[in-house]
Symmetry: C2
Subunit: 428 residues, 2 copies
């Protein structure tokens, strides 16, 4: 792990947006499913996933879900149920009410908050199929009040047919009642445009491979999409009261995700810096995913040695990390100064996996510096607002001429006349 | 104006996303400004806007703003000031607090809400420069608490040098303190990447021409952007208690915006339908923007005759209009059934221009059916959320093994060990 001064470090990871060929392929699939519905959906499922299905086999049955429960061990089931309770409780606190503002002249202005009607959640197949991510995508939509949440996931992965039973159980526990065994760009297109079997949705979320990402981008505007996540990141801000073994373990838990993942310690203590570097070396060797973790640490890992904790805070705000852990003597006293971080873990016991799996806050968090302007997945991602305007006759008589002044200044005489026709008739 | 049954009508307007050549030009300009900053910014300003500036002339001075006030009439100033008060008051009701949830075991979970730090507002030149839109973009950012709001606008439009004084006054009234005379794709690039003179922002909003839209799309991810608005739309849902002259005037106020604008009446009353069609013909002729309004009405205008008010509500929900006016005997009784509409105007006195200019709700509203999943511009567009997790030692001892179970199931041993190292040390 490199020890650097902050100014020697440039966090620069080019995010993959697909080659022109990949874009073309994704767009071709999307266009075909848009044009011929189930026909293209089934054809690409056979061609790309090597699974031949008929339209009435697309939907996962109640019996399959029950069978999945039999394949899942009790400790997993208990843990995911408790996690779901925590996630639900946290997200329920994000709920908001519609409101109205009543004026003495009879005018009523308001903001109406409604859930989206139908949301599609993509769950990738194979190793990237995380039950925890199912909860993190579905529960906020459910808490928002979305009445129809539909999930799609590939019918087979890596030659192994069938959907991971743990994914099916997580979906059922989260409350999903409608699941289809389709994946890839074809599944995204089906969710966006609908087919004979799958009704179209208002928003698509969930991670996927490059074709899924490109298809989501292609249908954006027809439906809403979530943001496309980059590689995961952690920054640990620590002083010499922190335990180097805890920091090393947390850095490595990030590094094991992906060779592009980034794990950074920011500290003003050279002693801590050296101790963490040594600990990372020790703990790294025994990790099952040692190769991935080592590549990540070598390429994107660093210990940044600052002159002070204040400089460290500055560095953190510039990095705007997805995950920030603060392990200092009094972490809460620094919270106000953290401007940019998706999730902030405070103190020695708030290891990132606590948030990844269990505590309640969402684990889908802005990456690649976008915490400067975006937020972890939350209930607001599944609602929409409408403005409500009930202007009273008195209000129009009192203020109509000002509206006409502004409209006429902008050269919009028709706007002015829409007011004028009323003022004339109502006898002013 | 066509009289149709709903099933005969297909609202289909292809939104312009630019030609490949336009895309290429926009991307070239963005890359140049990213690479050479002020140099490219000034070069393109000279080449495209035909105004030769030095870097120290980019910023609009306090003297110019004072001079603009002298050019603006008092009725305009009074009206825009009162509108600003109303807009501010409405948006202040959207403000939210950070919150924390405290557990008896010492754990604290929370959601921290912060304003974005720096926001750029693009204001187009020429006829599309609307002082009202300046207020609608700037005030929500200001209410959110954004400390730095910077505005850019072209230095000259249509051969006329200088910025419209009404725009300068609207900006000053809204509280903008930092303005630059730059426009086009080069201005967007300057806001995204920064130059020697203009510091980079976290989010860019405001409308512009196709090059501005394409440049915004090109820098998305480096900064946040607002959504790219399509042509404006109104749907009026009415019964035979409504005044045909009011409806016609409101439809025309939308139609005069743009030949692509859409104005639709939905009613179960054939008598009202015929009366509105006749009124539109009469009122249309005397409008200054008669050609634009006629083209809009002919191409995208329609009266949709339904069998019942319930069918009308259904049609409205499918159209998901930007603006909806409800002029029925008891409009409030229908509000619960409106699922998709950006802004809902209730009753005979809530003419759309009331909301466009004055009442307080935002006039930047989702178009093209996107009210199904998006919202009018609001304070939330200028904030970001961070999750806060302070897990207590007790909580980790109680729940750590469940977190390890879930991590190990997902094959992420490093995650499990980050918990395990703590459980071991803390003596469990």
């Amino acid at each position: 792990m490199k020890l650097l001064k902050p100014e020697q470090f440039g966090l620069k990871r080019e995010v993959e947006y697909g080659t022109p060929k990949q874009n073309e392929d994704a767009e071709k699939i999307v266009a075909a499913v848009k044009a011929t519905g189930d026909e293209a959906l089934l054809r690409y499922t056979e061609e790309l996933d090597r699974v031949k299905l008929t339209a009435d086999q697309l939907r996962v049955t109640e019996e399959e879900i029950q069978a999945a429960y039999a394949q899942v061990d009790q400790p997993f089931l208990d843990a995911i149920r408790e996690a779901a309770v925590n996630i639900r409780r946290f997200h329920e606190k994000q709920l908001r009410n519609s409101w109205m503002d009543l004026s003495p002249d009879g005018t009523m202005l308001g903001q109406i908050i409604r859930p989206l009607k139908r949301v599609g959640v993509y769950v990738p197949g194979g190793k990237a199929a995380y039950p925890s991510s199912v909860l993190m995508n579905v529960i906020p939509a459910q808490v928002a009040g979305v009445p129809e949440i539909v999930m799609v996931t590939p019918p087979a992965t890596g030659g192994k047919e069938g959907i991971d039973p743990f994914i099916l159980v997580a979906a059922a526990e989260a409350g999903v009642k409608e699941l289809y065994r389709v994946g890839g760009a074809q599944a995204i297109a089906a969710l966006a445009y609908g087919t004979e079997t799958i009704a179209p949705v208002d928003k698509i979320c969930g991670p996927g491979n490059i074709y899924v990402a490109l298809a989501k981008r292609a249908v954006y505007g027809v439906v809403d999409i979530d943001s496309i996540a980059g590689p995961s990141e952690i920054v640990v801000l620590a002083d010499d009261t922190a335990d180097p073994a805890y920091i090393a373990a947390d850095l490595l838990s990030q590094a094991e995700h992906d060779e592009m993942a980034s794990a950074i310690l920011v500290t003003a203590s050279e002693q801590l810096a050296q101790a963490v570097i040594a600990e990372v070396d020790i703990q790294l060797e025994s990790l099952p995913r040692v190769d991935i973790a080592r590549a990540s640490i070598e390429q994107y890992g660093a210990v940044l040695l600052t002159d002070s904790i204040e400089e460290g805070i500055n560095v953190v705000n510039q990095l705007a990390p997805e995950h920030l852990e603060i392990m200092t003597e009094d972490p809460m006293s620094l919270l106000s100064f953290i401007e940019n971080a998706g999730a902030i873990f405070l103190g020695p016991y708030s290891s990132e996996p606590v948030g990844d799996y269990f505590a309640g806050p969402n684990h889908i968090i802005p990456t690649n510096g976008t915490a400067r302007f975006s937020s972890p997945v939350n209930v607001d991602d599944f609602i929409k607002k409408s403005s409500m305007i009930l202007y009273s006759k008195q209000a129009l008589l009192d203020h109509g001429h000002k509206i006409m002044t502004l409209a006429r200044h902008e050269g919009l005489e028709g706007h002015a006349r829409a007011i004028e026709v009323r003022l004339t008739k109502e006898g002013q």
